[in-house]
Every structure is written in C-alpha cells, then in structure tokens.
C-alpha cells in the first residue's frame, strides 16, 4: 500500500474543501482499502466522510424513497420502507457478506470498481487501471466478463447488484459539488460504458460528493424482486442477475422495469424486454417472448458464451416469478 495522509471531516463543507483539493472520499472502505493494498488505487489523501449526516432513509412524496449515501448496506437492506416499496432494491443489497454489509455504504456501493482479475492484478495489462496498456481480458480468461456494453478497450463487468436495481427503477443520484451546487443525475447517466475511456467509470467530477440516491414513485401496486445466479449459493459476484418490477392493473402490464447484472460493463437496462411486456397480459408465453430480447446485441467472448443463454433464462424466470407474485 502506498503511503497516504488521512483527514477526518465533520461536515459536508469540510469534505467538499478536502475533496476539491484532490482528496479521495472514504466511507465503508471495503473496495478502496482492498484496491489500495493491491496498489490499484494510490490516493495521496483520503478523506474520511463517515461522520457526515448522510445516513437517513426518507420516503418521498407519492411513494418514492431517498437513501442517504452513508447508509450502511445492512441498514438499507433491512429498512421496512425500502422492503415495502421496492423489495427488488432491498434484495439486491444482500449479495455481500454480512461483515461487508455492516461496513459498506450505499454511496460506496455505486462507486465500487470492477472485480475483473486483470484490473486487480497490477502486473497485467488493463486500460481501466492504466490507460493505453491494453486489455488482458480480451485474449485472456474471460468467463466472468461482459457480453454487453464492452469495447475493444475493456470488457470488465460492473460489480454492483444494487446498481442493477437502481438502473431498472430509473433512480437518480444526488451530488454536491465543491462550489456547493447540487445536481441530480439520472442513474443511467451516472455509470459510464468503457468505450475508449474505460478509466472513467462514473460521471462524477473531482471533489463531488454523492449525498443520496433516489428511487422515484411508481403507480401501485408494484411487484418487484431480484434474482442473482452465481457459482456458489451465497456471497459471490453474479454471473447473471435480473431486477424486475411490474405494475399490473386490470390484468394488463402497465409498467415494466427490467435490468440485468453480471453480464455487462454497466447495469444493463433491458428496454426491449420492457417494451415487449407493456400493454400485454401476463402469461408464460409472454415471459419467454419478452426474455428472448434480453441478450440483444450481445458479443460473447471466448469463455463466456454461456452467458447469452443464461441471461435470457434468468430474465424469463424472474419475469415469471414477479409476474406470478400476489
């Protein structure tokens, strides 16, 4: 680990000042400390923001919810409001171990970096870690990598489950800049596809602080749930996952919100699947037909061809599960 200086801040103003001077925010630290130890991350200053008052979960008008950036994952996933309004989001926070969930925060969760082994290995070529060095995954062992949203520079999968739920539910991220200005970014614009700049992962500016994420209100009842498939039963990164939310009224699907994880460089919004569902009546045939679009545009690599079929089946199964919920 490279040496770094450490600052603890007690309010947002102090944090933004330290952030604008190049300090790196640390909350739970579960990703940052790990990557610092691997020397993938080498911040000169870390700014401990854990004392900031960003730990509230509040219901918003009309049935949305706003989750403070410093809410621990363990608290958010157990929150009665979140479980009642958006089970899919609460469930997507249960991927990590209990220890990590006690430490890691909501803001840090959406800032977490890829688990690509080549990214984590400083002796390997990686455009995300070292722009221009190449991508060892393209010609290497790429079973876990992306079949969607990749480029000839990077095919690393985004690791967050929670981000998949946020993507499905078209959430937004509240940010505060060092000049004090607040802005709200649609979640779809927050995480960046690699393209030719894989080292840029979030549309966040130097010193900007995530203050909360907000899931908007939906017509009720909204049925939702998250399904994650992985190599072992628990505590593992996903091979394919699906976040599904459906609003059915009068026997017809009026709203369908679907995204996939574990398969793409960013949480993958399945707009074609959503379009195939809206206006239709739930049926096994419909779930299968809609899910057929889940891997549209997929470009599998040498070792992850199985993800194409896995993704379709994951989405179909979860559409049926949510569709059949009372």
């Amino acid at each position: 680990m490279h040496p770094f200086s450490y600052t603890r801040v007690s309010n947002v103003r102090e944090a933004l000042d330290a952030g604008s001077r190049g300090g790196r925010y640390i909350a739970g630290g579960t990703t940052l400390v790990d990557l610092m130890r691997e020397t993938v991350e080498t911040p000169e200053t870390i700014v401990d923001i854990s004392a900031l008052p960003l730990g509230d979960i509040t219901a918003t008008a009309g049935g949305g919810i706003r989750i403070g950036a410093l809410v621990p994952m363990a608290v958010a996933t157990a929150d009665p409001k979140l479980n009642s309004l958006f089970p899919v989001a609460a469930q997507a926070l249960r991927g990590a171990s209990a220890q990590l969930r006690n430490m890691a925060t909501i803001g840090g969760n959406i800032m977490q970096r890829t688990r690509c082994t080549y990214f984590r290995d400083v002796t390997a070529d990686c455009n995300k870690r070292e722009p221009g060095s190449g991508c060892a995954a393209l010609g290497g062992y790429n079973r876990g990598h992306a079949i969607l949203g990749g480029s000839d520079q990077c095919v690393a999968v985004h690791a967050s489950d929670f981000a998949v739920a946020l993507s499905a539910l078209e959430a937004s991220v509240h940010l505060q800049a060092p000049d004090g200005r607040n802005r709200r970014l649609p979640f779809a614009d927050f995480l960046l596809r690699p393209g030719s700049t894989p080292h840029r992962e979030q549309a966040i500016r130097q010193g900007e602080l995530i203050t909360s994420v907000e899931i908007p209100a939906y017509p009720r009842p909204l049925k939702s749930a998250y399904l994650k498939l992985r190599d072992r039963q628990s505590y593992s990164f996903g091979l394919a996952s699906a976040a599904v939310a459906l609003h059915v009224r009068g026997g017809v699907i009026r709203e369908a919100k679907v995204a996939a994880g574990g398969v793409a460089t960013v949480p993958w919004k399945l707009s074609a699947v959503e379009r195939a569902l809206v206006g239709e009546r739930p049926s096994d045939r419909l779930w299968a037909e809609a899910a057929r679009h889940a891997a549209d545009g997929a470009r599998p690599l040498q070792h992850n061809r199985f993800k194409v079929e896995l993704l379709k089946r994951t989405v179909e199964r979860q559409l049926r599960t949510v569709g059949e919920m009372e």
Partner: protein, 212 residues
C-alpha cells in the same frame, strides 16, 4: 497516564513472503516498539527498498480506541489495518489473516458491536471505537456460549477460521438471523472454512441462538 493507556508506534504490515533466516517479523516489530517506538522501516521486514524508502516518509496518526475493554492509544502508520494492529502490535493473534481482502472472514471482529472484516478496516479510522476480538469474548475462565458450543459440537478441524467464525456467529446471533439453518448459512457465508465444518458450525450457532 493511566496504567492501561499504552502509546506506541505501529509500522504497517507488509506482504513480503519467503523464508527468512533472521528473527521473525513479530520479534522484530516487538523489539522495535520496546526500544523506543520509532517507526520501524528497516529492510528486514519490508518488501523492497522502494517500499522501505516510502515507509520512512509515511504519514502516521494517533488514535485512541478500546480493545476488549482496555483503552489503547497508539500512533499508527495510516496504512495499518485493524487486523495488523491487533496481531502485530497488541499481540492479539486470535484474529487470523486469511485472504487479507475481505473474502474469507478469518479476521472478523466486532467494532462498536458490529461484525466487520478487520483486514479492510484502517486502524486510523477507529478513534473512540470499541473493538472486541476472540480474546475478549470469554468472561474470565467462562467461555462465551458460542465458544463452548464450538467445542461441544466439534465445529472445527484445523481451527484457523474458528475465531472469525465465532465472532461472526456472535454478530449473526445479535442480528437475529438465526431462524433456520438456511438463514444461518446465508448470514455466515462471509466466513469460509476450508476443512468444511459448515454443518457443525451452523449447529453451534443455531443452538447458541436457541439458548438465548
């Protein structure tokens, strides 16, 4: 200065591997502390000259925390993890270093009552924190019920993961995630046991929770 207040300097741990003919790392560090508390940055236990040079200029901070009921004030290299602080400096070697990356759970301790991975916890961040390790679980000669249950159920073989399993189990029981063996398995999944004692570990947690 009260009797239980110790102040000393803690060097960062390094990942240097390989056999060494010299004194063990722990001996060197302990000696360094005894002889006056300078930041030990000699090449004996640092990986390479570059890192050693960097360590010489490495920022450190003073932090006061409570470990198993004893107040400790230490000056730590900012890079020091809670796990290294416990093992290498406070001589509390019950918490184990498995993966050192938050994946195995062998380092699990309680911080302010919550189970966490001490390997991913920077000691410098723990000002005012209450830490409980496996060494702080028993009350005198009386084992914590979960420690006793691990013995009764024979819930370990090599024992390396056991302190982490027990600390995690204490957290799991406190959190109330013990309604079924399936729930215990899920909420204990951050603790890996290479000997495969899971069935008995789950039983030990289940029985201890039931007795509460």
């Amino acid at each position: 200065m009260s009797a239980d207040l110790s102040e000393s300097v803690v060097p960062p741990s390094t990942e240097s591997g390989g056999p060494s003919s010299g004194p063990s790392r722990r001996t060197v560090i302990a000696t360094g502390v005894v002889v006056g508390g300078a930041v030990v940055a000699g090449g004996t236990f640092l990986a390479g000259s570059e890192e050693a040079a960097a360590a010489g200029a490495s920022p450190s901070s003073r932090v006061s925390l409570t470990v198993n009921g004893t107040r400790r004030t230490v000056t730590v290299d900012n890079r020091t993890s809670l796990l290294d602080l416990l093992r290498e400096h406070l001589d509390l070697t019950g918490s184990k270093k498995g993966c050192n990356a938050g994946a195995c759970g062998a380092c699990t301790v309680l911080v302010d009552g919550q189970r966490v991975n001490s390997c991913l916890t920077l000691a410098v961040r723990l000002e005012g924190a209450e830490v409980v390790t496996i060494e702080g679980l028993a009350e005198g000669d009386r084992l914590h019920p979960l420690q006793q249950a691990f013995i009764d159920e024979d819930a370990f073989q090599c024992g390396y993961c056991t302190p982490g399993q027990i600390m995690s189990g204490v957290g799991c029981i406190q959190e109330g995630h013990t309604d079924s063996p399936e729930e215990i398995r899920e909420y204990m999944s951050g603790n890996v046991c290479r000997c495969g004692c899971y069935v008995k570990i789950v039983r030990a947690v289940e029985q201890t929770a039931a007795r509460k």
